[in-house]
């Protein structure tokens, strides 16, 4: 019984971590430019595909995936930062003043673009990728068995959250980002460079996506051109539940959605368990109806008469 509870708790926190990191990537950009970036899931997917040699063959050949871990991590991060910055420059910057719904649809289109690009180059079939297979083996905490990978996921998430908080609080550009997401115009009036701040936000979202993509691939061991979609969906829902525009809300929402998803899976009777996503979304619906602004609601988004 204890084993089961710990197992569920570890699963829940691990999934919550991935969703929180993904939600942060979305929330960071939304805060500054009111863009809900659906293509963020595809950043994650691209990061995963960067591990293998581009080819339509069924069997994946490792490329970056066999490099030594530090170089591998840095390469994937670098690739996704470039992808994120290029997306901003090419697709989103020309639309910076457009309605948020237009920005959102643009990100849909971008997502569609990336998915089909990968489909074209790598073919649509899922591929097995053994990234760091050693990490899947469990470690024992007394009588309790926990997969090492989950521990790593949680630790990496915590470390990233701490780093991000330090970045936002201690560095000049971090403080500027916080200022810009509260009042972009006022920040500009103080000479804060809008383009630079937005680019920084995209770079960080690329970095977060890279980390999620590595953790996710080591957990699942497979690649698919649609692998980013469920992540981004749940993370997107998490940012809304947490409260759009609030980074604390994004993290909180990520954990709420992740944990409730695992918990529903565990506690629902067998015949309802298949519908666990439905329960998660029902919970989301309920939270929105009770608190339309999300758990941490942000004042700047409310309209004045």
């Amino acid at each position: 019984m204890l084993q089961l509870i710990v197992q569920i708790a570890v699963d829940a926190i691990s999934l919550g971590s991935l969703l929180a990191l993904t939600a942060l990537g979305i929330g960071l950009i939304f805060g500054i430019m009111r863009l809900i970036n659906f293509a963020h899931g595809d950043f994650i997917m691209l990061g995963a595909y960067a591990l293998i040699v581009p080819s339509a063959a069924d069997a994946a050949m490792m490329f970056i995936g066999v490099w030594p871990a530090p170089i591998l991590v840095i390469s994937v991060i670098a690739i996704l930062i470039v992808v994120a910055l290029a997306s901003e420059r090419i697709a989103f910057r020309p639309l910076r003043t457009a309605d948020p719904s237009i920005l959102l649809i643009t990100s849909f289109a971008l997502s569609f673009f990336f998915q089909n690009l990968v489909l074209m180059v790598y073919s649509g079939r899922p591929k097995g990728v053994p990234l760091w297979p050693d990490l899947v083996k469990p470690i024992y905490l007394g009588p309790i068995r926990v997969p090492e990978l989950h521990i790593i996921t949680v630790c990496v998430t915590l470390a990233l959250l701490v780093l991000l908080v330090l970045f936002l609080k201690k560095t000049t550009i971090g403080v500027q980002m916080r200022a810009a997401s509260e009042d972009f115009r006022m920040a500009q009036l103080l000479g804060v460079r809008g383009n630079r701040v937005i680019a920084a936000a995209f770079a960080i979202s690329g970095l977060l996506a890279a980390v999620v993509s590595l953790l996710f691939v080591s957990q699942t061991g497979t690649l698919s051109f649609k692998m980013g979609v469920p992540l981004v969906l749940f993370a997107f829902v998490a940012t809304v539940v947490g409260g759009m525009g609030s980074l604390v809300g994004a993290v909180l929402g990520g954990f709420v959605v992740g944990v409730s998803s695992i918990v529903f899976q565990a506690i629902l009777p067998m015949e309802m368990r298949m519908n666990d996503d439905a329960w998660v979304f029902a919970l989301v619906l309920l939270i929105l109806l009770v608190r339309p602004g999300g758990l941490v609601s942000v004042k700047a988004l409310q309209e004045r008469v």
């Binding site: 519908n275 439905a278 979304f281």
Partner: protein, 361 residues
């Protein structure tokens, strides 16, 4: 009724008349050519038109970007399968209650019933959701889709789970699809001219001012939501009877994205935009598909790698959005080309044309 009055009525109905005329013309040309492959493409396009008009009725008039409408298409499609499949074919895949399992209902009443079911669902879920605005409303509608999608994926006895349900009677051809398209065009137009449609459009323009003008926004949104769910359901019905099969997986993000893309590329704020969006996007997709298959330039054959069609569509969409953020039509309906004349208001109240300035005093 004198001729001026008739002119006024034609002017009032100008948009739906022209739009219907355009789709009719396309259908007639294809019919005359006798090409059955193209006819299937066109039928598919007409079904898409019903679908996008269904989206437009809510999104276009309310200004609320709803992501969950495909749920209503899903509900309508399966409902019509339960009603119209032969008991013999149902017995292979489904485990329905006796009244559905043992009967095969007539097509047209079944279609109506299968449109009404999602409308009822929309009414129930809409009561709480229509109070929300902006992004919260968008997500809430999406949550509805996610819930129905998950339930239908796992509801083996009614939907055959995640597998393809086959054996739905095939009766939708170009003409049936055309009939429903024209009906959808006229209904959407007449709705937006009613006081309900007008009240809802006012809330799209300015929520605060609309509330001050006595408009109960949640109620007005709910009306549009239910009406749009009906047409989404009908689109599901048409698709089921056109393909003869259904798969839950087909009612998820792909079609959500494609239908929203059509609406937004055409221009989400006008009925004309909705129809134009379907035509333009479908044409682009078709052209890209043909280029992909290879085109002959004299002796030289030119073709593009597979998947280019989707990439091209994505790039074109981004380009259109950058240059025309409110879509190709930019919110305009088909303009009346015959200058000033006596103009009739939707309320039936005629208004004389403005006199030239110097005659007024």
């Amino acid at each position: 009724m004198d001729s001026r009055h008739i002119t006024a009525i034609i002017r009032f109905l100008w948009t739906p008349l022209i739009l219907s005329f355009i789709v009719l013309t396309i259908v007639l040309i294809v019919w005359a050519s006798g090409d059955s492959v193209v006819a299937r493409t066109i039928t598919d396009g007409l079904i898409r038109t019903v679908l996008v008009i269904g989206l437009y009725i809510f999104i276009g008039n309310s200004g609320v970007l709803a992501f969950g409408h495909i749920a209503f298409m899903l509900i309508g499609g399966y409902a019509v399968a339960w009603l119209t499949m032969s008991p013999f074919k149902k017995s292979f895949a489904l485990d329905l209650p006796a009244i559905l399992a043992d009967n095969q209902f007539p097509l047209f009443p079944s279609a109506i019933a299968a449109g009404l079911l999602p409308a009822i669902v929309a009414f129930i879920v809409g009561i709480p959701i229509m109070r929300l605005s902006g992004i919260a409303a968008s997500i809430a509608t999406f949550a509805v889709l996610a819930i129905f999608y998950t339930i239908y994926s796992n509801w083996d006895s009614w939907t055959f789970g995640a597998s393809t349900l086959v054996g739905i009677p095939l009766y939708v051809n170009m003409w049936v699809a055309l009939g429903w398209t024209v009906f959808a065009i006229f209904t959407a137009y007449l709705y937006q001219q009613t006081k309900y449609g007008l009240a809802l459009r006012s809330s799209r323009e300015d929520e605060v001012a609309a509330r001050a003008a006595g408009i109960n926004i949640p109620v007005q949104r709910l009306i549009a939501f239910v009406l749009s769910a009906f047409f989404m359901g009908i689109a599901g019905v048409l698709q089921a009877h056109f393909l003869g099969s259904l798969i839950v997986n087909g009612f998820w993000l792909g079609i959500t994205f494609l239908s929203l893309a059509m609406l937004i590329v055409g221009g989400q704020r006008s009925l004309t935009g909705a129809v134009v969006g379907v035509i333009v996007v479908s044409t682009i997709v078709e052209l890209l598909r043909q280029v992909e298959a290879g085109i002959q330039f004299g002796n030289f054959e030119f073709s593009l790698p597979g998947g280019f069609q989707e990439l091209g569509l994505a790039v074109l969409m981004i380009v259109i959005l950058i240059y025309r953020p409110w879509g190709i039509m930019g919110g305009h309906e088909v303009p009346w080309p015959f200058g000033h004349g006596k103009r009739i208001l939707a309320g039936g109240f005629a208004l004389a044309p403005p006199l030239p300035k110097d005659e007024r005093k």
